[in-house]
């Protein structure tokens, strides 16, 4: 069965610090990968996605993620975080063999202190 692991439960950073959130998935076939973000009091929204092609994917608000197939990883990065990036971040994987079901990790809460 497909599973997604997020390495950090809660990350606390100061503004301007660099961010990297880890994500690993277990499925061995072709997968689509996503990072979703949930700001306080708001809906889950898509941050970025990887289907194929360039393994370095750029998303909204300066976020990027790198797909490393050999490591089954899709880590999220941002060079300089802002207070407004405080949110919960979810990594998710989707594969065509299971009706494109989306499997989420447990999430990482990011707190950015001003």
């Amino acid at each position: 069965a497909q599973s997604v692991s997020q390495h950090n439960h809660h990350v606390i950073l100061s503004e301007a610090a660099s961010l990297e959130l880890g994500c690993n998935y277990s499925y061995g076939g072709t997968v689509n990968l996503f990072w979703y973000v949930q700001y306080p009091g708001q809906h889950l929204q898509l941050l970025l996605k990887y289907f194929s092609g360039d393994p370095l994917v750029k998303g909204i608000k300066g976020f990027e993620a790198e797909f490393i197939k050999s490591k089954f990883s899709f880590n999220l990065r941002k060079p300089s975080v802002q207070w407004s990036d405080t949110a919960e971040y979810f990594c998710a994987a989707q594969n065509g063999g299971s009706n494109y079901k989306l499997t989420f990790g447990k999430g990482t809460l990011l707190t950015v202190n001003p």
Binding site: N32, Y36, H43, L44, L46, N99, Y100, K101, L102, G107
Partner: protein
Amino acid sequence: EAGVAQSPRYKIIEKRQSVAFWCNPISGHATLYWYQQILGQGPKLLIQFQNNGVVDDSQLPKDRFSAERLKGVDSTLKIQPAKLEDSAVYLCASSLSVGGEQFFGPGTRLTVL
């Protein structure tokens, strides 16, 4: 473009009572999903519809949960009878088609006492 609508936003019930949630997807989206998100965890898919047919309900506890999408547009999710462990946020999402980008609603926070 209007987003995914859900109601109610909050619901508090006692165990063994029944409850129903409603979802209206983005207009034109054929695929509709219901997720359960327990505190501290990521969303877990309960059921996926393509138009008014069920694509995947493998993780739906069918002894107490039911869902329908009769006209292929809006959907209801019901729990009867509720248990304490059903306390969670129930999210509805929709996409243009299976495998498409999913757009999420605000969720319904259920508390079972």
